[in-house]
Symmetry: C2
């Protein structure tokens, strides 16, 4: 099991994690008197620039104290703009010396997918707690290595799954098994958008690992598993391509169907060619819907014919603060490396089904 | 091609059909001075009782003038309640003598699916115009026989597809190819409900032909084809069953994916085990949604982020009046027998894909 070394954090660990049942939202003690944990962002692309940077305006348990970038000018500008010491600036070569920086507790990896495993392993070796953007790696086998690296180093690993901290997204999961709604029988989850710039790394297999499936298809595997509350036992999947030039290396559109042990099924679509962003959950006694379902917010929808209240906040701030509290308390995040692995096992099976042209079972033990 | 004999109707044929482009709704001359055409309902089950009977309160081009039932008491009660002569009452044995009833122009078949072909053939042989409930037959081969029978008899054949006459459902089709929205790239269509009484004919294969796919899955094939505006060239399908006792003879849940010649794709779900009733259409420049999508009304949704106005009326009245006008004008209905055949060819391919466990092409010429 997970061995952890919290010695380096013990002086700061004052937050208390309340016991959280499988269906209950994690509830933390409201106020933390501790100094916020320091976070270093690895990779200063769009997601760091447009989402994570501003999320730190809302975090209370962590703050930006470092960046890792191949562009020293850009990195120093981040230090100036976000008010952290230039000693928090690293490049990909000297990244490992981050081990010696006491202002950085958490490394948040926001690199192209195929680089995730390497930087998880290097961050863990540096003794830092790790958040890695989704998909955690590009295969289930890589995810196992990532988990082992963090276990061996005694650090926590989590995935940048932000929706699990959005109350509207979460509401449909919390409704499962309640007297009002009962068990979940079916999940439909779509996430698709027409991708722009044909030169971006997301369309290069060596960097991205795959196409829409890796980028936004994991929202669908997440939604299906999150709302079904189980792990799928079998999958069928279909791939479609309308632009073989733009999508020469990676998948354009994938549809997939999941079967869960209790008979619940899911039907999902992901694409880089068209728009779709919704969730439908059928419970024994009612229906939940989300549209938009997987955006940065606000997530809107209905539960049992009542509208969910639109709520504006940074999902990423909630996600990072939760991880900071997990680190302090020494407990696994709800979106731990194991969650990342489970999604990658489904993704692996999806590609196996496409290659075979027929149903595949998820035989690998998690 | 279709040969028609309108001699028996010529004295009544005063309505004028305006030319209707492929994308334009059919527009009829507003006022018809003719006497309404007479309709006989064959089968007095739920759909006749709860939907069609009251639809005649709204029809202007046709009226109820007969029923065909195995229950003479019930049939005479219908005659009394709906104010038609008892000479309009038939049973399944003497049905063919309906040929001699000048008050009945149209026979509307509302029987279990496997009986459709027989009664289409008998109605055509009696020289009556035919509306048949969906699914038109239980196989594509049967649909070809139904079409031929009506062609040979010189009568029109249409399917009880009511949604094509609902302005909100139709709005998403009409938006296809407009400068505002552009081409359709993806359709998601679901129709599912938990079926009740385990003893009903819909769960008996000899009567129903199949399960959810035949009953409500054809709404999904209809939506996919209607909004894509093309005929699919390939299909994959998956079947799931959680209750092998209740669904011993027929399918419980089927998901299927369609590919159209221009690269448009569709992902659909139908089930007798859970609830889902929605359409999502992605156009190049926007999105259309329907929820509920396939109900008797009102159909609600959005087009390009604007809400469709909820509209209350009998879809069945619009559908029957349209067919009455088609009969008068001697033009095929938009929901003709050919539409029914095209759906059955897709349904045939869906079952072939399930049996094979992999993708099937739709090779049969229509």
């Amino acid at each position: 099991m997970l061995r952890r070394n919290f010695l380096s954090l013990s002086s700061r660990t004052t937050g208390v994690a309340l016991a959280a049942g499988a269906l209950a939202p994690r509830v933390w003690a409201a106020a933390t008197k501790s100094k916020p944990l320091g976070v270093a962002l690895v990779g200063l692309g769009n997601y760091s620039t447009r989402q994570l940077a501003k999320a730190f305006n809302e975090t209370t348990e962590c703050r930006l104290t470092g960046v890792v970038s191949g562009d020293p000018v850009k990195a120093k500008r981040w230090a100036a703009e976000h008010g952290f010491a230039e000693s928090g600036v690293y490049n990909y070569e000297n990244f490992d010396s981050i081990a010696n920086n006491p202002d950085i507790d958490i490394v948040y990896i926001v690199l192209p997918n195929s680089m995730h495993l390497e930087f998880i392993e290097r961050a863990a070796a540096a003794g830092k707690q790790v958040i890695c953007e989704k998909p955690m790696t590009v295969t289930g086998a890589e995810s196992r290595r990532a988990i082992k690296a963090c276990e061996d180093a005694g650090v926590l690993l989590s995935v940048g799954y932000r929706l699990q901290f959005d109350p509207n997204y979460r509401a449909l999961m919390l409704a499962r098994g309640t007297p009002e709604l009962g068990a979940v029988r079916y999940v439909q989850a779509d996430m698709a958008f027409p991708i722009g710039d044909p030169t971006q790394w997301r369309l290069r297999k060596p960097l991205a690992g795959g196409g829409a499936m890796y980028d936004v298809g994991v929202y669908c595997t997440q939604s299906a598993r999150f709302f079904a509350g189980q792990e799928p036992v079998a999958v069928t999947a279909q791939e479609y391509k309308t632009d073989p030039v733009k999508f020469a290396e990676v998948d354009e559109t994938i549809m997939f169907q999941l079967e869960f042990p209790n008979g619940t099924t899911a039907n999902c679509t992901t694409s880089y060619a068209f728009r779709s962003n919704s969730v439908h959950v059928d419970y024994q006694k009612g229906v939940g819907t989300l549209s938009p379902a997987h955006s940065y917010g606000p997530i809107a929808g209905t539960l049992n014919n009542k509208e969910l209240a639109p709520r504006e906040f940074s999902q990423q701030a909630l996600q990072m603060d939760d991880f900071a509290r997990c680190v302090r308390a020494g407990v696994e995040s709800e979106v731990s490396g194991l969650e990342g692995l489970k999604d990658m096992l489904v993704v692996d099976a999806i590609y196996r089904s496409i290659a075979a042209g027929s149903k595949r079972t998820l035989v690998e033990p998690v």
